[in-house]
Amino acid sequence: MDQLLPPEIVEAGQTFPAALAACGDLDALLRLKGAFVGREASHATRLMELLKTAPKEQKRELGAAINGLKQQWEEGLKVRQAELEAAKRKLGALAASWDPALPPPQPPRGALHPLNRLMDRLVDVFRPMGFHVEEGPEVETEAHNFDGLNIPEDHPAKASSDTFYLAAHPELLLRTHTSPVQVRTLLRVAPDLAARGGIRFLAPGRVYRKDEIDPTHSPMFHQVEGMLVGHGIGMQHLKGTLEYALRALFGPDTEIRLRPSYFPFVEPGCEVDVSCPLCGAKGCRVCKGSGWVEILGAGLIHPNVLTYAGIDPHEWSGWAFGMGVERMAMMLSQTPDLRLFFENDQRFLKAMGGLD
């Protein structure tokens, strides 16, 4: 049979499977297809011409052989094309595929300062009990910072070794606590206190004392002041409110403890301890093994403070507390150095702050 065909076509036919396999892409396959079964100058067209000129008695056999060859080639090309197309589709799919392990673009993430975050949380905790926020200036008068708070004329805190004063305005100072907000607020609401039904508020803010900067001292720090004025307010209401708030803050199993203490603007006065939120009151380094940590100072508003603001202490009474924000933040986070809160290293802010 092969002797009927030209030897170069026989040879090409023999190398066809290898050539087919060598086609790495559809373009190469197309070229191969053209060479074998193309409409012009292909092996197939040459065979068809051969068939035309073949002696009549050979035509039948030769025709069958040529058809067989063509069929074989076309079949082979079709299969290979399908293979190549599948491979291409697969690559395309891979190219479009997503590896979830590759680091994705990160939406930016910033943070509130941890001290602000803590103050915001305190406001959130007191909000359901009807407390709002009052604010006051940081540059204050001696009257608001000291006199209105029953702090005696010769109190050591007034000394220039403790309190910053303005050079051009000797009567002005940087407030040493958030308590002047009490005085301002009481003075403002005194005329319509009855119509309001008393008042209850928090006063978060920055305060200043003349302390050198070291791991536990800062000339600027934050306090949150709380105050409530109403009818018949006693120590039980202070205890009830703080118990609610500190449980909201530290968890429902939190216990609080009041101990007598002294601040000129309250009477009776107390320190408030909370069962150590870090060890569950079992005793740890933070609570020095006692199971309690001191969290704030408080008491019933001194009658002189109410009187100063024009509020009759026989009709009205109330409580007040003051809390050191840095102290609480350091306790909760166990940050070893107060200065970290004011250095504002982005790594610290990212780690300690958040968005809530």
């Binding site: 910033g110 540059v139 120590m235 007598p260 002294y262 019933l300 504002n344």
Partner: protein, 640 residues
């Protein structure tokens, strides 16, 4: 103050039975927390924290009195010898009301030193014994009974002793060797040659007791607390004596302490009493204070029986009489802090224990108030900035004059914002702007290797006014470093001014604030918080209908001069377009390349149109041509 346990037990024997932990708990419950415990040879000392109102507790006797009241256990009697007073050997004249009583004695000293037990007591309390019995005895009495006394060298005193106000510019060399220039508000003990002691604060050098002293004149007096406090502060001379007199000593102890001092010197160094006498008298007590049961019940949170209150106050040494439903209370001579009914209520509660106070939520008497808009605005802005990747900073409100000058406007002079007594020069001016602090913080972060720094601060800035610094809440943001380039989708590029402009727009700032180039690749702006739009009252805005017809978008690529103002071009083009159909006109690309004609850049302007009908091509083409003509009138050319 350090309290030594063995001596404490001498004052209240029942305290010996308590272990340290129990003792600390009882003291804390009384308002005297123990800050530390020092183990000593054969005993312990407690570092007891005593609040400023309780000068009476600043001694072993004082703490023992508190324990006795709480534990309902007896105090040991004070063992005074019998000193019989006689005529004054030296005239003692009290010329100021600030010293109502002055008990004294003169003794001839014999042989002998301070007993070892007393020396070790003094050492335990960090008071170094001087081995001079008259000095050590005075110190021991002070720590034990809380009443300061003083011993003068009697032979160094010239003539009569007077307690009087100092004369202006009079001087006194105090025991510490310092020459003090006195004022007319300093109370002194003086002899005929001048002052020999600052009353209640410190003795003088000229009359001090030394090894050579043969005869001593003892002083056990009472001085007005205010006067002692003022003198101690004026001369920066804070002593054990000034602390106790300054917080109020017990005038009734004047004679007792004198007697105790005499007895000690007799026992320790065979001193012979030559004479003892007292000038003046214990001042009349303050008027009794009434405590009515209604007030007590209000403070305590529950009714307290009259008898219980009476009994508690009596245990503290008060003289209590009952008048109907109120108690009439005369405080003991050692308590100067019981001036009003609330003070007495506190004492009743303190002895009962604060743990018995009930826990009650205060009832609402009126509607709760809203949070102030300014406060809500700050919360909203802070959260938005944090969402955008910014970190909130907290920096000091005072900075150095140089840093302040960087951003302080000329009409805000630093003089009106300068502290009289700053921590240091670098913290001396209340800042006019937050930017200096943020710039320093950002640079510090970049130095430490931050790739990108995004910071903001919400804090007051200060403006000098004749009435003092006026505070204005400000917002400042800084942004610098490299943006992106940290994942396979976001290309890296430097942060630019335009990023700050975008931030300002995100915050709805009215107009673009000045964007400062703070350093290479670091930018920032600052605005007054009042400039920000307030949160809207309306939860959801009024509905405004919008077109449901498709919008048409056209781009124009324009060649413009490098100096071309975008605002001018935008305004000119917008003016040429039908306002009712123009949805948006914005530059969406700026192309600057050497392939463009020198001095020119290409801006791609995108226009979006929409109307209450389907827009047809010809109509839009006409608008675009008009916009192009407007641009061309400013020198722009259509880019081929």
């Amino acid at each position: 103050m350090w309290i030594e346990r063995k001596v404490l037990a001498q004052e209240i024997p029942a305290a010996a039975a308590l272990d340290t932990r129990q003792l600390c708990e009882v003291l804390a419950a009384l308002g005297f927390p123990v800050d530390g415990v020092a183990a000593l040879e054969g005993t312990e000392a407690l570092d007891v924290d005593i609040t400023a109102n309780r000068g009476d507790a600043m001694s072993h006797r004082g703490i023992a009195r508190e324990l006795a009241a709480k534990l309902q256990q007896p105090l040991a009697p004070i063992a005074t010898g019998t000193v019989s007073e006689g005529a004054a050997l030296v005239p003692v004249r009290l010329e100021a009301e600030a010293c109502p009583i002055y008990a004294t004695a003169v003794l001839a000293l014999g042989e002998g030193i301070t007993p070892e037990a007393v020396q070790s007591f003094l050492r335990a309390l960090e008071a170094s014994p001087k081995r001079l019995p008259a000095v050590d005895a005075s110190n021991e009495l002070l720590l034990r009974y809380g009443h300061p006394t003083h011993a003068f060298d009697a032979d160094a005193i010239h003539g009569a002793v007077t307690v009087r106000w100092a004369k202006a510019a009079e001087t006194l060399v105090t025991l510490d060797g310092v020459t003090r220039t006195l004022t007319e508000r300093d109370l002194v003990i003086a002899d005929e040659a001048g002052p020999i002691a600052l009353a209640g604060v410190m003795g003088g050098d000229r009359t001090k007791v030394t090894e050579a002293t043969r005869r001593v004149l003892l002083e056990s007096a009472w001085f007005e607390p205010k006067v002692v406090r003022a003198t101690a502060r004026r001369h920066s001379l804070h002593t054990d004596a000034s602390h106790r007199f300054g917080r109020g000593a017990d005038p009734a102890m004047a004679r007792v302490a004198r007697d105790l001092l005499v007895a000690r010197l007799q026992a320790w160094c065979q001193a012979k009493l030559i004479g003892a006498w007292t000038s003046g008298a214990v001042p009349a007590p303050a008027a009794p204070v009434n405590l009515d049961l209604t007030l007590l019940a209000r403070v305590a949170g529950e009714a307290v029986p009259l008898e219980a209150a009476q009994e508690a106050l009596a245990r503290l040494g008060c003289t209590v009489t009952v008048a109907g439903d109120r108690l009439c209370v005369a405080p003991p001579t050692w308590r100067h802090d019981l001036a009003i009914a609330e003070d007495l209520a506190e004492e009743v509660l303190r002895l009962r224990g604060y743990e018995h106070i009930p826990s009650v939520l205060p009832p609402m008497e009126g509607p709760p108030e809203h949070l102030a808009p300014a406060y809500l605005l700050r919360q909203r802005v802070a959260r938005r900035l944090a969402q955008l990747g910014f970190h909130q900073t907290v920096t000091y409100g005072f900075i150095s004059p140089e840093a302040d000058a960087l951003f302080a406007p000329p009409d805000n002079p630093a003089a009106g914002r300068t502290l009289a007594n700053p921590l240091g020069y670098e913290y001396s001016v209340l800042r006019a702007s937050l930017l200096p602090s943020l710039k320093a913080t950002a640079e510090q972060n970049l130095r430490q290797g931050s790739r990108q720094i995004k910071l903001f601060e919400l804090a007051p800035t200060y403006r000098s006014t004749p009435a003092g610094p006026r505070e204005q809440m400000a917002l400042a943001a800084v942004w610098g470093g490299v943006l992106g380039g940290e994942d396979y989708l976001s290309p890296a590029r430097a942060v630019l001014e335009a990023d700050l402009a975008g931030l300002a727009r995100d915050l709805d700032l009215p107009g673009l604030p000045t964007v400062h180039r703070l350093a290479e690749g670091l930018f920032g702006f600052e605005v007054e918080l009042d400039a920000l739009p307030r949160p809207q009252d309306r939860i959801i805005p009024v509905f405004r209908p919008f077109s449901r017809f498709p919008s048409v978008e056209r781009d124009l690529s324009l060649l413009v001069d490098l100096g071309q103002s975008y605002a001018d071009l935008h305004q000119a083009m917008a003016a040429a377009l039908p306002a009712e159909s123009l949805l948006e006109l914005r530059c969406v690309d700026v192309f600057r390349h050497k392939s463009l004609p020198e001095g020119q850049q290409a801006w791609l302007l995108r226009m979006r149109f929409q109307a209450e009908r389907t827009l047809v091509g010809d109509e839009v083409d006409g608008w675009v041509s008009a916009a192009l003509a407007a641009a061309e009138s400013l020198g722009a050319k259509l880019r081929a």
